[in-house]
């Protein structure tokens, strides 16, 4: 049995905040606070409520479960329980484990189902009923963009979870939304030099792309950077989301003259297409006198687990990996591993960091007012969170930090040890001008 769900121990739950339930039961209709508040859901009691909106059902349920674990850990650390995790290595020392702005952190949870409608309904519940001051989480770009624009309209801060599409902080960016995770543009910029070293400049690439916005974004970025270094794109074929069997898309690759296959798929699609591509013998093939290669631009450990030994030797990029040896990562892995018995995924990492960053910004601002928190996040420079020196760029609310290029490990030592970090691409190399991706932030909305 590979995945054991370890529940939180009971005492920690009681300590972690006995208030989520209280918040669930509080009637809000007659106590309409709007009139007395200076901003939406201003916390008036001894607690402040965060909303953790993660996929609990559907294909990303395991990733969502990992995100939730990370959030619960973050709440513990914020409230001064446990070993403090990355709070000890975080360069900002505003947070002291006394909660945020003197208020204990409580949380409510919800299920996005990885559907825009359900995610928005769940976020609305947290805002309207539970009085959440901030919404965070999610495991897909469509959901992130949908919830981000909801939070903008409603007037709360949205701290995006795992979302990799350029659009989240590109053409769909919003003032109230912030993203720590990297994007396809950075994946392309980080991967290209490594691919050049490993596979040379004379390559013919064949793209299989999930037929929706994230897939196109990914395909565009990889094409752009690989073509710049001399690769030729033979074809870019769109595959339906959730196709299951990709054989009809893989066979044309065999005789296309291409010697590299780029799989712009994520989640289950990636697991299936990679498994099947390897079965078709692509990796044993010689084309144009070169070894045929497969690339998966966006990796996650959970996907690597799903694809099993097929990931061996395959390059990709990732936001963070638990084998990193900096102080922040070590502290986080230790704290997470001791709590749950296995290392955190990159989704867990980005969610943990987002929760801490929000709390820190609120603490430094001395208020939970979205505009105040937002301003203290804008242009914020920090380190000690596992990705080296990081900047929350003011112009598009996107974090800039080192990007990891990883490779499927040949001889994994455990079921979690599937990827090895081949290169940490420095931040300077993945930066791009803020106006490149279009979009407009607009103004902060405080909801009143």
């Amino acid at each position: 049995m590979s995945f054991i769900r370890k529940p939180l121990n009971r005492r920690s739950i009681l300590r972690a905040g006995a208030m989520g339930g209280a918040a669930l039961a509080t009637p809000t209709i007659f106590t309409s606070k709007v009139w007395s508040q200076t901003y939406l859901n201003e916390p008036t009691g001894a607690e402040v409520t965060f909303g953790f909106n993660v996929p609990q059902t559907g294909a990303y349920a395991d990733e969502g479960a990992d995100e939730l674990r990370a959030y619960q850990l973050a709440v513990k650390h914020l409230n001064g329980e446990g070993d403090g995790g990355m709070l000890n290595t975080f360069s900002s020392k505003a947070l002291t484990g006394q909660g945020v702005n003197g208020k204990k952190v409580a949380f409510v949870t919800g299920d996005t189902q990885t559907k825009s409608d359900a995610a928005r309904a769940s976020a609305k519940r947290m805002i309207e009923k539970d009085g959440a001051i901030m919404i965070t989480g999610g495991s897909s770009s469509g959901v992130a963009i949908a919830v981000q624009s909801l939070c903008q309209e409603a007037g709360v801060i949205f701290m995006a979870g795992l979302t990799h599409s350029n659009d989240t902080t590109g053409k769909d960016k919003r003032a109230n939304g912030f993203r720590h995770f990297f994007n396809t543009e950075m994946s392309g910029a980080a991967l290209a030099p490594v691919l050049k070293n490993a596979y040379g400049t004379d390559r013919k690439a064949y793209h299989l792309t999930a037929d929706y916005t994230w897939g196109w974004s990914q395909e565009g970025s990889i094409k752009k950077y690989t073509e710049d270094m001399g690769w030729e794109t033979v074809a870019a074929v769109r595959t339906p989301l959730g196709a299951g069997d990709f054989s009809q898309y893989i066979t044309p690759v065999l005789n296309s003259g291409a010697d590299v296959l780029v799989l712009n798929h994520y989640g289950k699609d990636m697991v299936n297409s990679l498994t099947q591509a390897v079965q078709f013998g692509l990796r044993d093939k010689q084309v144009n006198g070169k070894q045929f290669e497969i690339i998966v631009p966006l990796y996650s450990r959970l996907m690597a687990q799903g694809a099993g030994e097929n990931v061996k030797g395959i390059f990709g990029s990732t936001n963070w990996h638990w084998s990193l040896q900096d102080e922040g990562s070590k502290a986080f892995v230790k704290s997470f591993g001791q709590e749950y018995g296995f290392p955190p995924s990159q989704a867990a990492h980005t969610c943990y960091v987002q929760a801490i960053l929000y709390a820190d910004a609120a603490q430094r601002a001395g208020s939970f007012m979205p505009s105040a928190v937002g301003e203290s996040l804008e242009g914020f420079e920090f380190e000690g969170m596992g990705n080296g020196p990081t900047l929350y760029r003011a112009a598009d609310h996107q974090c800039f930090k080192d990007v990891l290029v990883v490779k499927g490990k040949e001889n994994p030592s455990s079921q979690f040890d599937l990827l090895e970090v081949v290169e940490v691409t420095p931040r300077a190399q993945v930066e791009y001008p803020a106006d490149m991706l279009g979009g407009e932030l607009g103004n902060f909305n405080n909801g009143v």
């Binding site: 049995m1 590979s2 995945f3 769900r5 559907g58 294909a59 990303y60 349920a61 395991d62 479960a65 037929d211 074809a235 074929v237 769109r238 595959t239 339906p240 959730g242 299951g244 069997d245 054989s247 009809q248 898309y249 066979t251 044309p252 065999l254 005789n255 289950k268 697991v271 299936n272 498994t275 099947q276 079965q279 078709f280 013998g281 044993d284 093939k285 959970l302 687990q305 799903g306 694809a307 099993g308 030994e309 097929n310 638990w322 084998s323 070590k330 892995v333 230790k334 704290s335 997470f336 591993g337 001791q338 018995g341 290392p343 455990s414």
Partner: protein, 342 residues
């Protein structure tokens, strides 16, 4: 030419999978008159028989190495499967062949599941409206799915084909093409052969045994068969169990192609319904023919040349074909009048 041949192979392979899943569904439709929304879940359960078998074989002896620690500070555990420790080479062979060998586990398990399901639940719904059947079997499908999710998690769990059939065969070379032009994975050919064998076996069973004859008579006219004094109820149970086994075996053998997760049944459910209906309600040959037809058309619609003319055609081809066939042939390819029409 080689491209066409390859897509034809793909289509046959897909068709085999579709036909295998649809076969059980149409058996249940045709004989029992029940709309079984839990059929996808049976497929999924079969796949998880393979997963469980693999996990059982992989029950590990855990030794703690006090010298080394994990990244989060607990002692490193060294795991070796018991099977390998105690059975040596045979244990290794078992691990290698876990997918095909798990058929031996899947058959009794699925028989039991089918038996319990029919006796415990479906039996009471023979005379209920189709709407009720849909609701109850859909509920059951969700429950089965959630149980699997609780035990195994939501992430796909990879299963590997045996070492000897893991790679791809160069069929092209055998047919006189240049080497490397037409390669096809061994396991997919195994799957196609397996599908053909199972379909053949079910047909032979219905065609050449007395039991099968009664069942076919029951499919044609249940009331008359009942009037002849034949206990059709008991046979229904067995038919249902057979359908469950067929779905389960389809699931077991599909695991190396598609790493199974708890939701895979739902993903196949709609598709298998379309296949059954296009084939014609209650017609076994129809379901098989429709499976292959849709599989092949889907493969060809996915070709770049076709997509260049009709963008997005590969996304809708199955449904488009279903609409066209149902409009041209009112009861699908080989359906009979009066079955499930009201």
């Amino acid at each position: 030419m080689d491209v066409i041949l390859l897509q034809l192979l793909n289509g046959l392979d897909k068709g085999g999978a579709y036909a295998l899943i649809a076969l059980g569904l149409t058996l249940i439709f045709g004989t029992l008159g029940v709309v079984n929304f839990a059929h996808g879940a049976l497929f999924m359960l079969g796949a998880f028989c393979a997963v469980s078998f693999h996990e059982i074989l992989n029950i590990e002896m855990v030794a703690i190495d006090p010298e080394k620690t994990t990244a989060w500070g607990t002692p490193l555990e060294i795991r070796t499967p018991y099977v390998e420790t105690y059975l040596g080479d045979f244990g290794h062979w078992m691990l290698n062949y876990s997918v095909p060998v798990s058929i031996l586990l899947a058959i009794p398990v699925m028989l039991l599941v089918g038996f319990v399901m029919e006796r415990g639940l479906i039996k009471h719904f023979y005379n209920r409206p189709h709407a009720d059947q849909i609701l109850v079997t859909f509920g059951l499908a969700i429950v089965l799915q959630e149980i699997i999710k609780t035990v195994f998690g939501a992430n796909p769990i990879p299963q590997t084909a045996p070492q000897t059939v893991r790679g791809a065969a160069d069929i092209g070379a055998a047919l006189g093409f240049d080497p490397g032009v037409i390669v096809y994975p061994y396991w997919r050919m195994v799957y196609l052969g397996f599908a053909a064998a199972v379909i053949g076996a079910v047909f032979a069973f219905l065609k050449f045994t007395t039991f099968g004859m009664v069942v076919r008579a029951g499919m044609a006219d249940r009331d008359t068969v009942g009037l002849l004094g034949i206990n059709i109820e008991r046979r229904f149970t067995i038919v249902f169990a057979i359908a469950a086994v067929v779905a389960g075996l389809a699931g077991v053998m599909y695991t190396p192609i598609l790493p199974p997760d708890y939701h895979m049944g739902m993903d196949f459910l709609v598709l298998s319904f379309v296949v059954v209906v296009v084939g014609g309600m209650g017609s076994l040959p129809g379901a098989v023919a429709a499976g292959f037809l849709l599989g092949i058309l889907q493969s060809f619609a996915s070709m770049n040349e076709v997509k260049a003319i009709l963008p997005g055609i590969d996304q809708i081809i199955i449904y488009l074909v279903a609409v066209v066939i149902l409009l041209v042939r009112p009861r699908g390819l080989l359906g009979r009048k009066g079955v499930m029409e009201s």
